[in-house]
């Protein structure tokens, strides 16, 4: 058995030691098959997100391409919840070596699928499409649910610096006679519209102060796939509305809506968009590559409680949840009651994972713009044993955004990035739950590969405007 400890938070050493002791005692008691024991890995994780898709103890089995169970197995323990570990460990060892489907304590909501296809992303979509219903039920705006209680997008100093940098770019272009008649700026994922409003206020003031006359030439585009969000953002920009256009767009492919602006946009900004797009995860163990597959479930106890509270038969919950995801909170007739149901299901939602062995990197489900050799390059710099994101939604969005950039334009992305593969060794990077949405750290190394292919270099700078912020700023420069 191999023990992985990715991070030891102060004060949990004793709990970690006790967990290992418990497991070994249980292994001895159960007389675990020697082959299984030799291939067993115990992962003691510090889960950053208090709300996530894991039980205190999770068992991950591995399967070959033919569906045959392999001896590799992982038991992952969330060190935030050590008190629940012994029961979970006992359950995991009972299932290890048996048919993992042979359980009656879980209500499955889907079959095993690659993480990108899990039902959790449909919940995520519902959250953004029916944000007002969620916020009405929770009693707070989604930005208040962020760890810092507000979005880093709206930091006045950061916005002021962004405006100053942009004005400098315009000035340089102007001096060389290369400033376009219309100055296009794009923000994807507009939040409450606060950043756009701050940015435009600041830009107008700077332009007037310096007498450059750029402000009236601005064409400020707000793109989001949530119409309620766009409506809210348009209200927020107030007196700048004449310069602002809102565009319903899928963040995965801004080019689809804006192809007429290919190579014309001078500045594109996104905050906390990529961390909310679908991912896959790959795992390398003993030199072999595995794809993480997941299936969502509610613990039987949770399902029974929710069913009882809403007067539904427990067996009908999967159907009701499916209808919720299709129709929204009206599914129970009353939106308020439906939203309450939605929030409880989301709160109880968990993922069981398994590892599907891949024959090699060429079998990995890579997003557009990422080649097998990029994956090989990433693996070459990664720890031998590593679990990491294929940030496929982010990579797709990134690859479909870069062609919009004017040759002198740039892309700024504020988000939570893993900037080197080595960092994956040091902690759990998602998926977590953020209010009603899904959050994952973004594989910055992968975006670097996508950018290089498209003719850009990417750089990462810490977000220096809020102490202890985990946010980084990705910015592009034209590749030589």
């Amino acid at each position: 058995m191999i023990l992985h400890v990715n991070h030891l938070q102060p004060g949990v050493a004793a709990a970690a030691g006790a967990t290992v002791g418990s497991l070994l005692a249980l292994v001895e008691e159960a007389g675990l098959d020697a082959r299984l024991l030799a291939s067993l890995r115990l992962h003691l994780d510090w889960i950053q997100y208090r709300s996530n898709f894991r039980d205190p103890v999770s068992l991950r089995r591995a399967e070959g391409a033919d569906g045959q169970l392999l001896t590799l197995a992982e038991i992952a323990v969330d060190l935030r919840r050590p008190a629940d570990a012994p029961a979970g460990l006992r359950r995991a060892l009972r299932l290890l070596g048996a048919d993992a489907d042979d359980v009656d304590d879980r209500l499955w909501l889907e079959a095993f699928v690659p993480l990108r296809d899990s039902v959790i992303w449909r919940f995520n979509d519902l959250f953004w499409k029916r944000l007002t219903d969620w916020e009405a039920a929770s009693g707070r705006g989604f930005e208040q649910a962020l760890p810092s209680g507000r979005s880093d997008a709206n930091h006045p100093e950061a916005v002021a610096d962004s405006v100053a940098d942009f004005w400098t770019l315009l000035r340089e272009l102007d001096k060389r006679g290369g400033l376009p008649a219309e100055i296009f700026v794009l923000e994807i994922g507009v939040g409450t519209g606060t950043r756009a409003a701050l940015w435009l206020d600041r830009f107008q003031a700077l332009d007037e102060e310096r007498g450059t006359g750029y402000y009236p030439r601005l064409r400020f585009l707000l793109g989001d796939y949530s119409m309620p969000t766009l409506d809210r953002a348009l209200s927020a920009v107030g007196r700048h509305r004449e310069l602002v256009s809102v565009l319903a767009m899928d963040a995965h492919n801004p080019l689809k809506v804006l192809s007429f602006l290919r190579y014309k946009i001078l500045s594109i900004h996104l905050t906390n968009v990529y961390d909310n797009l679908a991912v896959d995860e790959l795992v390398r163990r003993d030199g072999r590559l595995y794809l993480v597959e997941a299936r969502a479930y509610l613990a039987a106890e949770t399902a029974a409680r929710i069913a009882g509270e809403f007067g539904l038969p427990a067996a009908s919950l999967p159907t009701t949840i499916e209808r919720l995801l299709e129709l929204g909170p009206e599914v129970l007739g009353d939106r308020v009651r439906g939203a309450a149901f939605w929030r409880q299901v989301w709160d109880g939602l968990r993922l069981e994972e398994r590892l599907r062995r891949l024959a090699g990197p060429a079998e990995a489900p890579l997003p557009p713009g990422v080649q097998v050799e990029h994956l090989e390059d990433m693996l070459a710099t990664a720890p031998d044993d590593v679990r990491f994101h294929i940030s496929r939604g982010a990579a797709e969005s990134f690859a479909n955004t870069l062609p919009l950039l004017h040759p002198r334009g740039y892309l700024h992305v504020q988000d939570i990035f893993v900037t080197s593969m080595e960092e994956y060794r040091h902690g759990f990077r998602g998926p977590g739950k953020l209010d009603g949405s899904v959050i994952n750290w973004v594989n910055g190394a992968m975006l670097g590969a996508v950018a290089a292919r498209a003719g850009y270099d990417v750089h990462f700078a810490p977000f220096r405007y809020r102490p202890n912020s985990r946010t980084s700023v990705l910015y592009t420069t034209q590749r030589d």
Binding site: Y263, P407, A454, Q478, R479
Partner: protein, 332 residues
């Protein structure tokens, strides 16, 4: 030859496997011999594709080249090249010139003879012009970029003459860096003239807004080329219009240059394949300004960044579009 001669600008689609092989060679995972064999095979395929598409003037697809700079700096006598910072074949190696460049051939003639061996079509070889090369090579010897470019042109001039001795060919000089440094245009054109001095071939000058990584490096109007470009001793100026719109074609009416126009009718920066009707309309628009016998038809730039099926389909559309207009004009 028919009116509205069709041609490629230079490069043809590079297969992903060749990109991998070039990287493998860069990192010494395969031998030069293996890579050369792949180059021969892929060049034959590129020739065949261009012929089947019906292009009148073809190239070898430039598929032996890592990129438009290194292929020349590695061969220019007196230029020192450092590959250590080069992670991908497509990256530019750093290079420096520390003394006067000696006169010596670059060894490019076998490219042409190989092309002629496998095709009976009119052929073209393209070379990166002195201005673009000077912008990429660190100059530690010459008193100015212009002096360096003129001496560079002297060395390259020998290669052009060797091409002409080896086989009948057209020659294209690629100068995309003009668009990034319009202030250099005066001496840039003088360098081109030094380059073509005494070369008995049809010479074209290709100026675009860059195609590195399949995206433009600069934006603007071709107006900056005029009137300085009128002094270029070339027979054709090949420009990109499909992506940027035809507005700048009117510069040919305004300045009435002594050379033909190579009209870019295929956008090489998008995978969307033009229809023959769109190509025909682009040609008709240009014919309002440029006489039929002064107009040739080509893509905006090289096709290297396009997948092969897209590149091939675009060439077919170009040829079909030109044929539509030829028929309208009563030609073959």
């Amino acid at each position: 030859m028919p009116m509205l001669v069709t041609a490629v600008v230079g490069s043809y689609s590079m297969p992903a496997w060749l990109e991998r092989a070039k990287n493998d060679y860069l990192h010494r995972r395969i031998t030069r011999h293996d890579l050369d064999e792949m180059h021969d095979a892929v060049v034959k395929a590129a020739i065949k594709d261009q012929e089947i598409a019906g292009v009148d003037v073809i190239t070898d697809g430039e598929l032996r080249r890592d990129n438009m700079i290194d292929y020349f700096t590695e061969r220019l006598p007196g230029v020192e090249v450092d590959h250590t910072g080069k992670k991908s074949f497509f990256d530019f190696a750093s290079s420096v010139v520390r003394g006067r460049m000696p006169t010596a051939p670059l060894g490019l003639v076998p490219e042409l003879t190989f092309l002629k061996q496998y095709s009976t079509r009119r052929v073209k070889v393209s070379i990166t012009g002195p201005h673009s090369l000077v912008k990429r090579i660190r100059n530690e010897h010459y008193p100015s970029d212009e002096a360096f470019a003129l001496d560079n042109a002297r060395v390259l001039n020998l290669e052009l003459k060797l091409f002409v001795c080896a086989a009948p060919t057209e020659i294209q000089i690629d100068e995309p860096y003009y668009s990034g440094f319009p202030e250099d245009l005066g001496w840039g054109i003088r360098a081109v003239n030094a380059l073509v001095e005494g070369v008995q071939a049809r010479i074209g000058l290709h100026v675009c807004y860059g195609n590195r990584y399949g995206k433009p490096s600069w934006e603007g109007s071709y107006r900056y080329l005029f009137p300085a470009v009128l002094d270029a001793r070339v027979q054709q100026l090949t420009l990109e219009f499909a992506r940027r719109g035809e507005e700048d074609v009117t510069l040919f009416a305004e300045f009435k240059p002594p050379f033909d126009l190579g009209l870019g009718v295929i956008d090489v920066k998008t995978h969307d394949v033009e229809t023959p009707a769109i190509v025909a309309e682009r040609i008709r628009q240009a014919l309002r300004v440029v006489p039929t016998d002064r107009l040739a038809v080509n893509p905006d730039c090289g096709l290297v960044h396009l997948p092969r099926p897209v590149a091939f389909a675009k060439l077919e559309a170009m040829v079909a579009g030109a044929a539509i207009v030829r028929r309208e004009l009563g030609g073959a």
